[in-house]
Symmetry: C2
Subunit: 130 residues, 2 copies
């Protein structure tokens, strides 16, 4: 386990100077369900998109990474609100989002060490240049 | 190998509607050199930062991902220029960048399948919501 080292291009603050918080996270993709995962994400349900927007998530990207014979999903998004916990807490209260997760969760395999109640494994950032 | 599926939240076009191209990529991090990698990236040399900016790269983030007993670096950045090849071609002509790579390359292990002449493995995006 390596210690965090902070500096001009790795600020200690969670919120960047432009007021945005940037998040990277990862989860394994079940390759047997990859086609369905891609199908779902090519046209994410409008209600799900609306909730993401309402909860102040922007610039949301998901990539597929083939690593050592497996596949992983790497996500990046920006949070532009001021109540991260409150906004994130809205998702499990949204019927449409819960229906969506019923489709997407089985396509994913949570990584060992992912905190209880979370689906994606949050990554530590080591560099940022605006 | 799964086929790309395009749609409203996975546009076929390389350039997003806001004129920005978004890139995700991955490489293995040599855990024995992790502390030095973190030290370098906490305070990236000013000349290197200037070249990145000049070459129209913005919102550049690197995260560390612990996966299956190894560590990987995930990067996300935006390209806001109109000559990707030309801009990317400037890096290997920059003395400061070459000196930088001499420090950072030994901290990284290229993934099998990474194209000749490239360091990071470029990822396929499967979802985007602005």
């Amino acid at each position: 386990m390596s210690e965090a080292i902070y500096g001009s291009t790795n600020p200690k603050e969670a919120v960047d100077k432009d007021g945005i918080q940037r998040f990277g996270s990862v989860i394994e993709l079940d390759t047997e369900k990859e086609a369905y995962y891609r199908e779902l994400h090519a046209n994410v349900w409008e209600g799900v998109q609306a909730k993401i927007h309402e909860c102040n998530m922007r610039n949301y990207n998901i990539f597929v990474a083939p690593i050592a014979g497996k596949k992983y999903l790497f996500s990046f998004f920006e949070y532009i609100g001021t109540d991260l916990e409150g906004d994130m807490g809205k998702f499990p209260q949204d019927e449409e989002t819960l229906r969506w997760w019923k489709e997407t969760d089985p396509c994913q395999k949570r990584l060992p060490g992912t905190p209880e109640g979370e689906q994606w494994f949050g990554l530590e950032r080591v560099f940022f240049q605006a």
